[in-house]
């Protein structure tokens, strides 16, 4: 389970470390020192909406239900503070139990993912010889109708899809880069394009630029490039430019 390196009560949550609201909720719920009433719900919603993934109606509905449940828990806490007369609402208790069950059902997969990550560290670096074998030559056909039919049948069968396992494709996702850049800006307020793309190939450089432009288009960041072809300073919207 990802650990928060700093106290989330005092510092902004590093939401880009989490894989969705269940992950975040479970982590916070199991961290005794975090007061759930302090959960920045708006940030959870924002991070989920801007996560670069299109929304599927069923998980979106579930998510709305979950977040509504958390909002209700928080609201009841605020309203019910110091009110000993407050009668537990059976409906709210049902929602709470459903949320608890979702988190409990989700937890094993989060831990299984961590186990896979451990195995990946061991076996992920081994290398296999991936060269596909040539197809075997068809046997010579003699004057036997059955053999001829069998050979024709083999020819008519759809060949297996060619293996691409030996090819390394580069996968860069603008959505992921936007999320990463947003996290960087939320932590430090500014980012250097050159530093972000240090050691990266042309494709990653281009995609990172697209991510910067996307944040600027959304009004979340401003871009400053004092010198043509020089470094681009990406600043979170509203942050002040350092004195030149």
């Amino acid at each position: 389970m990802p650990a928060l390196s700093r106290d989330p009560l005092r510092l902004p949550l590093e939401l880009d470390l989490f894989e969705g609201p269940l992950d975040l909720l479970l982590t916070l719920v199991l961290r005794e020192e975090v007061d759930l009433a302090e959960l920045p719900l708006a940030e959870v919603v924002g991070a989920t909406l801007e996560g670069g993934e299109p929304w599927d109606p069923p998980p979106a509905g579930e998510l709305i239900l979950l977040l509504a449940a958390v909002a209700e828990l928080k609201a009841r806490r605020l309203v019910g503070e110091d009110d000993e007369e407050l009668v537990p609402d059976p409906e709210a208790e049902e929602v709470r139990e459903r949320l608890a069950q979702r988190l409990i059902a989700y937890a094993p997969f989060r831990r299984a993912a961590a186990w896979l990550a451990e195995q990946d560290g061991v076996d992920g670096a081994v290398r296999y010889r991936r060269v596909p074998l040539e197809a075997a030559a068809p046997p010579a056909v003699r004057d036997d109708p059955a053999e001829l039919a069998a050979t024709m049948s083999r020819l008519l069968r759809e060949p297996p899809a060619p293996s691409l396992a030996h090819l390394n494709r580069m996968r860069v996702n603008v959505g992921e880069l936007v999320v990463r850049l947003r996290g960087l800006l939320s932590r430090s307020g500014t980012a250097s394009y050159e530093r972000m793309t240090e050691g990266a190939g042309a494709l990653e450089q281009g995609m990172t630029l697209l991510a910067c432009l996307e944040l600027a288009r959304r009004g979340e960041a401003t871009l400053h490039q004092p010198v043509p072809f020089g470094d681009i300073a990406v600043r979170a919207a509203g942050s002040k430019a350092p004195p030149s």
Partner: protein, 191 residues
Amino acid sequence: MSELPRQIEALLFISPEPLPVARLSELTGEDAEPVRRALVELAERHGPGAALEIAEVAGGFALRVRADLGEVCDRLRARPPEDRLSPAALETLAVVAYMEPISRPEIGRMRGVSADATVAGLLERGLLEEAGRPGEGGAMRYRTTRAFQERFGLRGPEDLPQLDRFELTGPEADAVRRRLAEAGHMGDADG
């Protein structure tokens, strides 16, 4: 070295996929037991000091480069393989591995976020594959692949630890309920 281990070594070297004992038997014309003994002999020959190792993985045996030499091998390539799997990808793999065959909406429901892009990436990497539709109009379901087993060093699906090993313990599950109750400031916060 006798002939059978040499033959098996050659077959493992040339094969693009792990070979089960039955297939090795068929190719060498030997019974399963001598094949197994030859595999043990080969594994001893390819000890920790050797560059290659015999691994039982993904339902068969493979001759592969040891993990510590992966980096030097990658220098041969124009572009190093993209090894890193994001936490989202690992979590999606975990859900599929334990629930397969499973559809994208079901994965999304388990994880609380849409899994479309993650599943597409895992399909492209060959770690997931389509497993058919349950019926007319049903959503495509997915399962893990042999490459998944190879990557994570699994001899087969049975090598995955039982899921209940990862479940929250009773006190942990109680803590979840208690914390949510405390957050709502309702009723029996102790239970």
